[in-house]
């Protein structure tokens, strides 16, 4: 026996192996929900056996053999699934005939394909976005339902139901367990990348709640992104997304002040940016560009983040280039939010008035009506133009719209600063008046 904490070791094996096990079994039983059940059964068996026997030399192989036995037992009981049982039996017979290293290699190669299939299946467009996120974290991230529920601030039974429904939907709609090909691939890959980035963002800027960053979700998304980049290394947009996440994650330490308050990008102490993640982010972006993906939606955002990462001080930021990248982004993925960001970059490059013109053009966009960053940006530009009264009103509006407590506090603080400036420094009111 190798010693140490056996239950911790089993939990570690579960984290590392369960996505691969679920993926391999799903290929055989054509049902991710069933596959997950069998893998769970195998871990229950491991929890019964391993504390006394110790960890087997190859825990993954042990678990796979056990899960497959469960699957065969189940399928035997289901006589109508006879055909599938034969497939399974054949596969096991084939594998038992091989030597161990060969089997490892064969499994390894196929596991890559299976994991990719599992990602595409968990992010299938037949599911709602919430369901895709939950299923991805559960099946590929190896998170428990309790952990996912906690991360998304919903009761555990609600999350359990969401996951169960998602699995049922995949079975009912007979979603094939496969990597889409041809024209379908781009859109489906996009769905996978979007799910990963949504998970990352949920962690990065929680839409509600006390905490500004819930970094564990960011780490889960980054890990899945890094895995995906290894599974499909030829897809530039994956590297673009990984680059974007690495670069954003590099700023974690600088994003929260000593009192727990939010610190905005340009106010951050750049010596706190994590150089290791910056380097990884720039390398991933470089890979995306080399593969011809410079104009990808995520690669462009990564390129923008890279402009910040390369500037040692805020003054060194190449805002002209950032404005250009936002313009390219607005062509690939037009959105009022991108335009708003372009306005910020323009203001930084050519002065607040240039930005304000674009922001004012966005004022009627229905998509931005409840978006706190519109008044927040407008307030900032007005502030820079010395129009403190109008700026204060905008910050108040923004504070009322955000659901994040820390962001709310930050905006109220800015509104108060406007009021003070107005009292002491209002150009429309001469001193002594």
């Amino acid at each position: 026996m190798r010693g140490g904490d056996i239950h911790g070791a089993i939990e570690a094996v579960r984290r590392i192996e369960s996505p691969k096990l679920i993926a391999s079994l799903a290929r055989v039983v054509h049902d991710v929900g069933l596959a997950e059940d069998f893998v769970q059964d195998a871990f229950v068996a491991a929890l019964e056996r391993w504390p006394s026997s110790g960890l087997p030399d190859n825990p993954a192989a042990w678990l796979m053999a056990t899960a497959k036995r469960r699957a065969i037992d189940f399928l035997r009981r289901q006589t109508r699934l006879e055909q599938k049982r034969d497939d399974l039996g054949r596969e096991i017979a084939q594998k038992q005939g091989r030597t161990v290293p060969d089997l490892d290699e064969a499994l390894d190669d196929r596991i890559g394909d299976d994991l990719l299939r599992l990602m595409f299946t968990a992010c299938h467009p037949v599911l709602s976005t919430d369901a895709r996120i939950a299923l991805t974290l559960r099946l590929l991230g190896g998170l428990t339902t309790e952990e996912i529920a906690h991360a998304f601030l919903v009761p555990e039974p609600t999350m359990a139901l969401r996951i169960a429904r998602a699995k049922r939907t995949l079975a009912k709609e007979r979603i094939p367990f496969e990597v889409p090909r041809g024209s379908e691939l781009a859109a489906r890959l996009s769905s996978v990348l979007d799910v990963l980035y949504l998970i990352f963002n949920e962690g990065y800027a929680a839409t509600a709640g006390e905490s500004w960053i819930r970094p564990s979700l960011c780490e889960d998304a980054l890990r899945l992104g890094r895995i995906l980049a290894e599974l499909a290394p030829g897809e530039p947009e994956i590297h673009g997304l990984v680059g974007l996440m690495e670069l954003q994650a590099s700023r974690f330490r600088a994003r929260i002040g000593p009192g727990g308050q939010a610190v905005l990008l340009l106010d951050q102490d750049r010596s706190l940016w994590d150089p290791l993640l910056v380097r990884r982010g720039l390398a991933a972006l470089e890979r995306a560009v080399t593969l011809g993906g410079a104009r990808g939606r995520y690669a462009l955002q990564a390129a923008i983040a890279a402009c910040h990462a390369r500037a040692l001080t805020p003054d060194e930021t190449d805002w002209g280039r950032i404005a250009g990248l936002y313009e390219a982004l607005s062509q690939v993925a037009p959105s009022p939010v991108v335009e708003l960001n372009r306005a910020v970059a323009l203001a930084m490059a050519f002065g607040p008035q240039a930005g304000l013109e674009l922001v004012d053009a966005l004022a009627d966009q229905p998509a931005l009506r409840h978006y706190h960053l519109l008044p927040s940006v407008r307030g900032d530009l007005l502030f820079k133009l010395g129009r403190f009264r109008e700026a204060g009103l905008e910050f108040d509006r923004a504070a009322a719209l955000t659901r994040n407590k820390r962001e709310h506090d930050l905006l109220i603080g800015r509104a108060e600063a406007c009021a003070k400036k107005q009292a002491t420094n209002d150009p429309s009111r001469p001193p002594g008046a």
């Binding site: 911790g8 570690a12 984290r15 970094p215 992104g225 890094r226």
Partner: protein
């Protein structure tokens, strides 16, 4: 959380300058490194030249004192490291356990310090001294 896995190969403290592991060991290790990479946990890794090519700087009398390698008194030296990002300690230990290391090698698994690990009084000190801010990690972890 981040962990550093420190590879401690016995007798590396006596290795001649320029000593390199043999190709077969490297091949096995590359495969292991690849498995860390594929699992999305590997952040960085490096191998280190033997101590006979290095130097030690000690401060016994309050001043820097340089000794060139090798260091006959050293019992254990580091041959290389992996920096990994995992969910919990046992996961780091599990990854270390999977290393195709030889009988004379030991891996020490060490967690990277983060700001949230510091006790309250240390946090206060770090907060008061901007020069120490480079040590600060995010507070929500």
């Amino acid at each position: 959380m981040r962990f550093m896995m420190l590879m401690i190969p016995k007798e590396y403290e006596q290795a001649a300058p320029g000593a390199m592991p043999d190709a077969k060991a490297v091949a096995a290790m590359m495969k292991y490194n690849e498995s860390l990479q594929k699992a999305g946990v590997l952040l960085a890794l490096d191998g280190l030249h033997p101590p006979s090519m290095g130097a030690r700087v000690s401060f016994a009398d309050g001043k820097a004192r340089v000794t060139d390698g090798p260091f006959p008194e050293a019992k254990e030296v580091i041959g290389g490291y992996w920096m990994i990002q995992v969910k919990f300690r046992a996961e780091a230990i599990e990854w270390a356990s999977r290393c195709p290391a030889s009988a004379n090698e030991t891996i020490e698994v060490r967690q990277v310090q983060e700001f949230s690990d510091f006790p309250a009084d240390v946090k206060e000190v770090v907060d008061q001294f901007p020069d120490l801010q480079a040590m600060r990690h995010d507070t929500t972890r």
